[in-house]
Amino acid sequence: MNYKFINILNLFILVLLLSNCVKEFDPPSLGYENLLVVDAFLSDGEEPFEVKLSRSTPVDTSAFIPESGASISLSDESEKYFLVESDVQGVYVYPGNINAQIGKSYQIHIQTKTGNQYESSVVAMRETPEIDSVTFRYEERSSVGLTGVQIYVNTHDPENGTWYYRWEWDETWKFRTPYNSNIYCDEGKIKPREEQINTCWKSGKSTSIKFFNSKNLMKDIVADYPLLYVDTNTDRLISKYSINVKQYALSEESYNYWKELQKITENLGTLFDPQPTIIKGNVYNVSDEKEIVLGYFDASSVQEDRIFIRRGDLPSTIFPNYYPFCEDSLVSPDRVEEMVEQGWWLIELQPLPPPPVIRFSSRYCIDCTLDGTNVEPDFWE
């Protein structure tokens, strides 16, 4: 059970009085602290075990500073698994299969290039109950003037032993540009287009932290947890949308970690902001308890569930329109080169009525590969 009294209260006030009063602020860097960041998650699945090591950066920069040259190992009660640094700097991978098991305890050990020793707490791998269902409902958000689909997740633990949950997701959606182009111009010559660039797929990952605890319920049940709201102002619902929800069981400690992280990095900007504090993960410098290490090491099985939302699942009165500015124009064939030089793309030859003309539009309205891929993902149905 998650009490978000204050957040709701804040949102309310925000909308009430501050609608125009939030301005972007470019943060200057102050008192930069260069800290080790550990990002490690162990699952019982087939995927190779991976640890990302990096350094924190000043607030005003966006560079990723990998921590390379470290030696990392994972230990369970009996064995030690040594990771190797992959081609990507700062990413360390176990080359084999750890075959991690639920109930077993794991710990990571890190020695950085400079010789500092770090250890995580000992984490017992938890079993994640199956997702009962991922559902969605068409909902209007009058408070923000949006229409869209609210996606919910439902789960329960028949053993009543999980209580703490977290979700991530991958979303993929098929979309179409307004114009299906079948010709293009190649050195002044109009050629038929072989590759289709009208329908593409885009994908994304969750970036916000979603968690719930059922500790205050009589049964370990998560009913209709609102995961995310997909609104019609994006291109997600133009054609077909799919979301793959991943469910993780958390311990009370990791739940608190995620909760605090969410509170101070996603939940500010209200009248009653929480006081930002240091968020302690579960990785420590062996010889200096006071050194702050960012990040967390956790271990659990993962449950996944994928659903599809079709255009037809939305009310017929709702037209997701991501391309409101697309227009086409008809130009006589002798001006093709001039148009192409100006950056216009050809859509088609329009034979009727004579004389023939060519339809043009901007690339943005034609080429879906600009920000997607025209290769259908293998899970697509």
Binding site: C21, P27, V59, L217, M218, T265
Partner: protein, 924 residues
């Protein structure tokens, strides 16, 4: 002296109804060369049957050189006085009255008033009506001022002995007692101020005395008494409406010089009206914020910080009842209806012994008493609220009532907001106030008051919030004798909030929190002689808290009910304070309050391993205590001391020290307090907070006491201030002690204030330099903030400059302005950015090491009063106000959030634009 002049004119007019004609018959002759004035007078008096009346001082430096050869007296005197400051007036009894600086005219009063109103539009008959009305009052007052009242039995007079005189000072129109009115005699200078009931007890020498009276907002007056024996004298004062601009009566408003108190700010209803309203509401708490030494987190933030104290360290009282949440709409409006407020007093330092329980300040809202002479009503309409107040006598001059209500209709505004927001949301509030005052007889009075405020709001028809304050008080005042009276009070206060949600059937819940207290107290005031005023009393407060319940809401809810154990506490105190006037120059006020506190069962108290941190992991057991069993006791003396030394009539020096103990604390881990924050009693683990403050002030009045200046410096320390561990869970937590750490606070500052209370242009200018620092240096891991060093509190704003001014162009038209500048408040700023789980996150470490931009705001308002015709059915006024005229987007906070994987910084402003409002007020 000159302030009394109009009275003198009228007085003279009363007895000299006919103008005189016999002046011309009086002929004088003589030759004077450098003749002292008194000899000249004697010579004239010898020649003709006249009598000179003058103060010898007026003329002691005047020498006459003149030759009169059978000249008329008039001509002679005109010549003699031509070169001097003196004027003469000959009445029908052939008395020659000399005045200095002013002329007495025979053709008063009509011409006098005409003359004084040259600028008035002649057709302003309403004003003329008003004048006549005023004139009548003044006449009445004059008779009272000069009539000699004999008190006691003449035969009992013992010369040279001191005798006590006591009574009430009231408003002549409404019968309302006046608080803080000064009554004194000049020689020897002995005086007192009336208490909260308008009662005074004055011990002065027997015999003929002139009692002088002063009260802010009222005309100065005096009474002639011959005191034979102990007795009573009730006095009514006339409100100083200043209708005629030439008759502005400047009184010696020297309360701040002669008074004992320091660190006290008083705002009365009059001055409240002079501050530009916010969203159409005159808001006491917002005005309090303009005073030196008072800060807040930011605009619209709930809670005030007085001299570096936290928001829960203010004792807010209305009719002696504690108000736990003094705001509506999360802090945007104060929950005190301005129409029922008589005055507001804020004690920042030198807190008298009768108050206790909070460390930083006492904010006492004095409510009006009903008009005991006639029925009146008043009200107002602003874009956000409507309010209505009625008052009137139940039994004329004996009993009265006042009821006031205020409600918002802001819902329609929510619906009208341009971005179609909040269609399903509501916000509403209302408050009620009622009071009955009954003077049973000379010795006994009873006061009954009740107050209720309520707030409801919901967001998207999902979660519904509600919070209410409930207060009731019953007071009986009994006068034992002139020198001793007592007030017996029973007071109830309560606060509760509820949150309920039904959107998700499985998680549907009802959550409740409540705090109630019952306070029984007896306060005595004893006036043994002219040099001492002794206050003493006892008080006991019983607290009952329901720290939180969570219950299922609906049949399908799976919520496990959580009911935290109730908490009980008893806070008791005895106190004694003696104000001792050692000499006219030096006065001391020594007070001692001894408070003791019991945390009472039934309760289950968690036990933790000794010599270790208090954490869930170190819990070793529980102890169960039975009904009313004492679990923990805290006690201690609280010394209150202040001293005043008057250097002269215009300046004084004051020093004070006070210690305060606080047994109830607010738990809030947000920077600004919210309605859903909870109060917690001191228990086995939560120690009482103890605050010590020393302050020193210099007070000086300028320009005939019309301008008050003061400089006050203070240094304050607070022990066991509460702070919270990272990730603290404060609501519905039955082991909240594991999430709490204690620290210490330190604050100091210097406050400069210049205040002009009267005249066309009035208001104040204040500048404060202050620091508020906190140190949290716990023994164990997670109990330290900023490495145990002092860090600035969230409300630490070193520079603070405020100007409040009001310019009265005419009786009906005035303009007010409010200008505020302060240093931006500190915030906790991120020191590093990192990538975790594919998203950028921020790392915060040192608390409050960055400041948001400085704050600046200018507000203006224009008040238009309706006409002043006395007999008019209702009086009305319009106020047009613009909040934040310059439209500056002052930062409320600067914050960072991770959005779509990236960190983004934002500046949040509240009221970032100029906000105009119109308010309509009426009286009938």
């Amino acid at each position: 002296m000159n302030k009394l002049l109009p009275f003198i004119f009228i007085f003279i007019n009363l007895i000299s109804t006919k103008s005189i004609s016999q002046n011309s018959d009086l002929i004088v002759s003589g030759k004077y060369e450098n003749t002292p004035f008194n000899l000249f007078v004697k010579d004239i008096e010898r020649q003709i049957p006249v009598e000179f009346m003058y103060h010898p001082q007026m003329a002691d430096s005047i020498y006459i050189t003149a030759i009169f050869n059978k000249e008329s007296l008039n001509n002679a005197l005109t010549r003699v006085f031509r070169e001097t400051q003196l004027h003469f007036f000959i009445n029908e009894y052939n008395q020659i009255i000399l005045t200095q600086g002013y002329e007495i005219r025979a053709d008063l009063p009509i011409n006098f008033f005409d003359r004084s109103n040259e600028n008035m539009i002649v057709t302003d008959f309403q004003a003329f009506d008003f004048m006549k009305e005023e004139e009548k009052k003044v006449k009445l007052q004059n008779t009272l001022e000069n009539r000699v009242v004999e008190i006691g039995n003449r035969t009992r007079l013992v010369d040279g002995k001191y005798t006590n005189l006591a009574g009430y000072i009231r408003d002549s129109q409404t019968g309302e007692p006046l608080v803080g009115a000064l009554i004194y005699i000049d020689d020897p200078r002995i005086g007192v101020a009336t208490d909260q009931f308008g009662y005074y007890s004055l011990t002065i020498p027997n015999g003929e005395q002139e009692l002088l009276l002063k009260c802010i907002g009222y005309k100065d007056t005096k009474r002639q008494v011959i005191l034979y024996q102990e007795g009573k004298l009730d006095i009514e004062l006339i409100e100083d409406v200043i209708p005629l601009k030439e008759v502005i009566i400047e009184s010696e408003k020297d309360v701040n010089i002669a008074g004992m108190q320091m660190g006290l700010d008083k705002i009365d209803a009059q001055s409240m009206k002079k501050v530009p309203p916010i969203l159409g509401e005159v808001d006491v708490l917002k005005i309090i914020l303009t005073l030196p030494g008072v800060q807040s987190i930011g605009e619209g933030a709930n809670g005030i910080n007085v001299r570096g104290g936290t928001a829960d360290q203010n004792l807010m009282l209305i009719n002696d009842a504690i108000v736990y949440n003094p705001t509506h709409l999360f802090g945007f409006f104060s929950s005190f209806n301005p129409d029922i407020i008589k005055s507001v007093e804020l004690y920042k330092g030198g807190i008298p012994a009768q108050y206790g329980g909070r460390i930083s300040s006492v904010l006492e809202v004095q409510t009006k008493e009903g008009n005991n002479k006639k029925f009146v009503g008043s009200g107002g309409i602003s874009p956000v609220t409507a309010r209505l107040t009625f008052e009137g006598p139940i039994a004329k001059d004996k009993a009265s009532y006042i009821i006031g209500a205020r409600s918002t209709y802001s819902d329609w505004i929510l619906k009208k907001l341009p971005n179609a927001s909040l269609k399903n949301s509501t916000a509403s509030f209302y408050d009620f106030f009622g009071k009955i005052s009954y003077d049973i007889n000379d010795k006994n009075s009873i006061y009954m008051a009740g107050y209720y405020s309520n707030d409801d709001f919901s967001f998207n028809s999902d979660t519904i919030y509600n919070y209410t304050n409930q207060n009731a008080s019953l007071q009986w005042k009994h006068i034992f004798n002139n020198k001793l009276y007592g007030v017996f009070s029973g007071v109830y206060s309560g606060y509760n909030y509820a949150v309920s949600s039904t959107k998700n059937e499985v998680n549907a819940f009802d959550m409740n929190y409540s705090i109630k207290n019952l306070n029984a107290k007896i306060d005595f005031s004893y006036f043994p002689n002219s040099k001492h005023k002794i206050d003493f009393g006892i008080s006991s407060i019983y607290y009952g808290l329901e720290p939180g319940t969570l219950k299922q809401n609906g049949n399908n809810s799976l919520i496990t009910d959580i009911i935290l154990e109730n908490e009980q506490g008893l806070e008791s105190a005895v106190y004694l304070g003696d104000k001792y006037d050692i000499s006219p120059r030096l006065a001391l006020n020594f007070g001692l309050r001894y408070s003791f506190y019991n945390y009472l069962g039934p309760q289950t108290v968690n036990k933790y391993a000794p010599d270790g941190p208090i954490e869930e992991g170190t819990k070793i057991g529980e102890t169960t205590y039975g009904e009313r069993e004492n679990i923990q006791t805290y006690q201690g003396p609280e010394i209150r001391f202040s001293a005043r030394y008057s250097m002269n009539d215009e300046s004084s020096l004051k020093l004070s020290y006070n210690r305060m103990r606080q047994y109830i604390h607010m738990l809030s881990n947000t920077t600004s307090i919210s309605p859903t924050d909870i109060w917690k009693l001191s228990d086995t683990y939560v120690k009482p907070q103890v605050g010590d403050q020393v302050s020193l002030g210099i007070y000086r009045n300028f320009k005939n006491n019309t301008i008050e200046g003061s400089i006050e410096g203070y240094y304050k320390t607070i022990e066991d201030i509460l702070d919270f561990k990272s990730g603290a869970q404060l609501v519905l937590n039955d082991h909240v002690e594991t999430d709490i750490v204690s620290g210490m606070g330190k604050s100091y500052g210097i406050e400069f204030l210049l205040k002009k209370k009267t005249g066309k242009l009035n208001g104040w200018v204040s500048y404060t330099y202050s620091r508020a620092l906190i140190k949290v240096d716990g023994q164990y891991n997670g109990e330290t903030i900023n490495n145990g060093e002092f860090f600035p509190a969230s409300y630490d704003k070193p520079h603070d400059f405020t100007v409040i001014s009001n310019w009265k162009f005419s009786r009906r038209f005035s303009v007010s302005g409010n200008l505020t500048y302060s240093t931006g408040r500190p915030i906790t700023y991120p020191v590093a950015k990192y990538n975790f789980g594919g998203t950028e996150r921020l790392h915060y470490s040192e608390r409050n090491q960055f400041r948001i931009p400085d704050y600046f705001r200018l507000d203006l308002s224009i008040s238009l009063e309706g006409n002043h015709k006395v007999k008019k059915l209702n009086h009305s006024s319009w106020t047009f106000a613009i909040y934040n005229v310059t439209g500056r987007d002052n930062a409320y906070s600067i914050y960072f959030v991770s959005e779509n994987g990236k960190v983004k910084g934002y500046k949040l402003s509240i009221f970032a634009e100029a906000i105009p409002t119109i308010t309509y007020n009426f009286r009938f």
